[in-house]
């Protein structure tokens, strides 16, 4: 097993280098064997195709090249050239005049964009060479090149995927990939409230912030980080599994043959999905407040003497959050389980009943294994979703109760994501927010990888026996 895995790994690396070699070989062969049109295309993209009548492809390539140089010389280069220092001249006020200098934020953002642009133009350059090669070979064989009309129409047939994906991929690049790369790099700078460009430039600091994260002394935030991380994992565990089993139980309860008005019960439960969370959760938050409804009635009825600090006691706040989350979480599981439970063949239960199995035994040996098998991937996504469950925590407690013993204004019910949010919005401590963000990614990725490979439905795709 191990041996074959190692072999496969080697193969992956080997084939990677092989394909790189192939690319260089292609470029060389195309240049050597190519005619003058092809050779010129190495400098002027798309010249070959244009001269051969493939105006559409050629013009597109040429346009991309032109765009690249316009961007680079008109805009990108001034930022890219300063990316190693992130700027040296701060914007200052000299007398009454403002003298503009560098802006670290822009340098970093557009520097990254420029690097992406360079990678893109290299890819386009290679595509351009390939296109030339393809055309030349076709012509050599005495075949005709496809007409411009055919090329255009292929965008709706053979190349329809490119038409469909162009916009979404661009959107994801600009609004997700670029910002994520930017923020990952911010984790290696000192961008915080004391270094707000353009008046105070920020710069690279290496692994300084990560050292801060794992240092447990007076200045480090290691202790707080471990605490918040632990609560995040505990929360995700309870929120996922309590909801899972209770939701399953409720679904089985409603699925019972004797129960009437099945639709009514389900509709009542689904109310918590339907009503926007900020309305329902904020109301529930007030219900459990010290001067809220629940405490009010408990005192009135003489059950307690003074209010229960649902949100202000650290431990109690955490328990209350998990309990309130049950209210939100059960309906989802109930909906999913309802459909799946009906898939279990009735004769399985029938024969178990004849063998004298009790209800609990049937649940343990038929229902539960089946459900766990089928919903394995769902449980995983629920778990990682709960790790990042911002709404429930933030609307209920905003991460409070706060404590002086925790660094960076973290509270006892803060998840990593709510902590990250507070750092960004309240403290503009971007460097540490970026570090925490990377940590969230690491935690999510590790859990996903480990659990995914352990799932029975992944190991054994044949299905449930």
């Amino acid at each position: 097993m191990k041996h074959s895995a190692a072999k496969r790994k080697k193969n992956v690396i080997a084939s990677f280098f092989e394909s790189i070699g192939q690319i260089f070989k292609n470029i060389g062969v195309t240049f050597v064997e190519g005619d003058i049109k092809t050779k010129l295309s190495f400098l002027i993209f798309g010249l070959g195709p244009i001269l051969r009548g493939q105006v559409l492809i050629g013009a597109a390539l040429l346009l991309l090249e032109a765009l690249f140089f316009c961007y680079m010389f008109g805009f990108g280069w001034q930022y890219l050239s300063k990316i190693t220092t992130l700027g040296t001249v701060a914007t200052q006020k000299v007398g009454r005049k403002t003298v503009y200098g560098d802006n670290s934020f822009l340098i970093l953002l557009f520097g990254v964009l420029s690097i992406f642009a360079i990678i893109a133009i290299l890819v386009i350059w290679y595509l351009n060479i390939q296109e030339n090669r393809k055309e030349e070979l076709l012509l050599k064989e005495g075949k005709r090149l496809p007409s411009n009309r055919t090329v255009f129409l292929s965008l709706f047939d053979k190349n329809f995927d490119k038409t469909l994906l162009a916009l979404p991929v661009t959107g994801i690049f600009v609004f997700t990939v670029l910002p994520i790369v930017f923020m990952i790099l911010v984790a290696f700078t000192n961008y915080d409230k004391n270094h707000q460009s353009p008046t105070n430039l920020f710069t690279w600091v290496g692994l300084e912030n990560f050292k801060n994260l794992v240092s447990f002394g007076k200045t480090g935030i290691g202790g707080t980080f471990v605490q918040v991380l632990a609560w995040t994992l505990v929360w995700a565990f309870f929120a996922t599994f309590i909801d899972y089993f209770l939701g399953l139980a409720v679904a089985m309860l409603i699925n019972k043959k004797e129960i009437k008005f099945k639709k009514l019960w389900r509709t009542i439960l689904v109310m918590t999905i339907a009503v926007p969370q900020f309305v329902s959760l904020l109301y529930v938050m007030k219900m459990f407040a010290n001067d809220g409804l629940i405490n009010g009635y408990l005192i009135k009825w003489g059950i307690i003497d003074s209010y229960i600090p649902f949100w202000t006691d650290p431990m109690l706040a955490r328990i209350t959050i998990i309990v309130v989350n049950i209210w939100i979480g059960i309906p989802y599981m109930m909906l999913i389980a309802t459909g799946l439970l009906m898939n279990i063949p009735e004769d399985l239960y029938e024969s178990a009943r004849i063998d004298g199995a009790s209800g609990w035994q049937m649940f343990r040996s038929i229902t539960l294994p089946y459900m766990l098998f089928v919903t394995g991937p769902f449980l995983l996504t629920q778990f990682t979703g709960n790790l990042n469950n911002f709404n429930v925590i933030y609307l209920l407690t905003q991460g409070k109760p706060q404590s002086m013993s925790l660094a960076e204004k973290a509270g006892y019910s803060d998840l990593l994501v709510t902590w990250l949010y507070k750092m960004t919005v309240n403290d503009t401590n971007y460097k540490m927010a970026a570090v925490i963000g990377i940590m969230v990614f690491v935690v999510t990725a590790v859990i996903t990888l480990v659990v995914y490979n352990m799932l029975p439905s992944v190991k054994d795709e044949e299905g449930f026996q």
Binding site: L109, G171, L253, A274, L282, Y283, N295, G296, L340
Partner: protein, 287 residues
């Protein structure tokens, strides 16, 4: 069947009903409270928190306040509606396009793209907040322009949420596509005249989920529209009424607003519940 078995059955059914009624009460209690509080008279009982459920006197004070023009409630409501409307339309289109391409077409880099998006999805969304804010600011889409800005950000990255829809497309037999292609239909034609008409449930599911999300969008909306009351959405605007101490006495008004927001959204959801269940169940099993 013997008698004791029958009585046992009856008792267990009775217990089940008692449980269900209890659960229903717990589930509906906050909503009943919300509605009752929204009708509490502002003049005689003030608008703050109280420790009783049923108001002493009912009135429409709170609703009248929302429409009186003292706040921008109507504007906030309209903003949210506009955002929800455009996000629904564009998100549905984009998700359909991406799902079709990934489900039906086999192109170079397909699996790499899917894996890359999966990894991207593991980064917390708020990480990119400041960068997105800056990008929007460059385009002039913050503060006063927050509404189009929020629409843009929502739809720009929605292509990554293709899982459920692609899973549905995967269940449509490929033989249908093949047959149509032999008859000379192009990919685009198959997509528009065959796949889309066959996917009504998943289109409704996608649209419904897209429509519901903006009503809860607090995090990014509050950041982008910061300090510009007129471009708040309902979540940002009304959350202040509950959190900030300056707004003591706004609690019943929050309830009234909450009812006005929850009723249409809930009705729509209930109306389309069937499709929602279908989408959620399908997505969960395929993972």
């Amino acid at each position: 069947m013997n008698k004791s078995y029958k009585t046992k059955r009856k008792i267990s059914t009775a217990i089940s009903y008692v449980l269900l009624v209890l659960i229903s009460i717990i589930w509906l209690f906050p909503f009943v409270g919300l509605v009752l509080q929204s009708f509490r008279s502002y003049k005689t009982e003030f608008g703050g928190m109280v420790d009783y459920l049923v108001p002493h006197s009912f009135s429409l004070d709170n609703y009248r306040f929302l429409f009186s023009g003292e706040t921008n409630f109507i504007l906030w409501y309209r903003n949210t509606l506009v955002i929800a409307f455009f996000v629904t339309i564009f998100q549905t289109i984009i998700v359909l396009c991406v799902s079709y391409a990934l489900s039906r077409m086999r192109f170079k880099g397909r699996t790499i793209l899917m894996r890359f998006w999966l990894v991207l999805g593991m980064f917390p969304g708020f990480l990119t907040m400041i960068c997105l804010y800056f990008l929007l600011k460059m385009l002039g889409l913050t503060q006063a322009g927050a509404v189009p800005g929020l629409i843009l950000v929502s739809i720009a990255s929605c292509g990554m949420g293709y899982y459920v829809c692609k899973g549905y497309f995967d269940t449509i037999p490929k033989a249908l596509d093949e047959a149509a292609r032999i008859d000379g239909a192009t990919r685009a034609r198959i997509f528009f005249t065959m796949t889309i008409p066959m996917s009504k449930p998943i289109i409704i599911y996608t649209a419904l989920v897209a429509f519901m999300a903006p009503w809860c969008d607090y995090v990014f909306a509050s950041y982008v529209a910061f300090g510009h009351d007129k471009s708040y959405n309902v979540a940002v605007a009304m959350t202040r009424w509950v959190w900030t101490n300056d707004y003591q006495g706004y609690f019943t008004r929050f309830c009234a607003g909450g009812v006005l927001i929850a009723v249409p959204v809930t009705l729509l959801f209930m109306f389309l519940q069937k499709y929602y269940v279908e989408g959620v169940t399908g997505g969960a099993v395929k993972g």
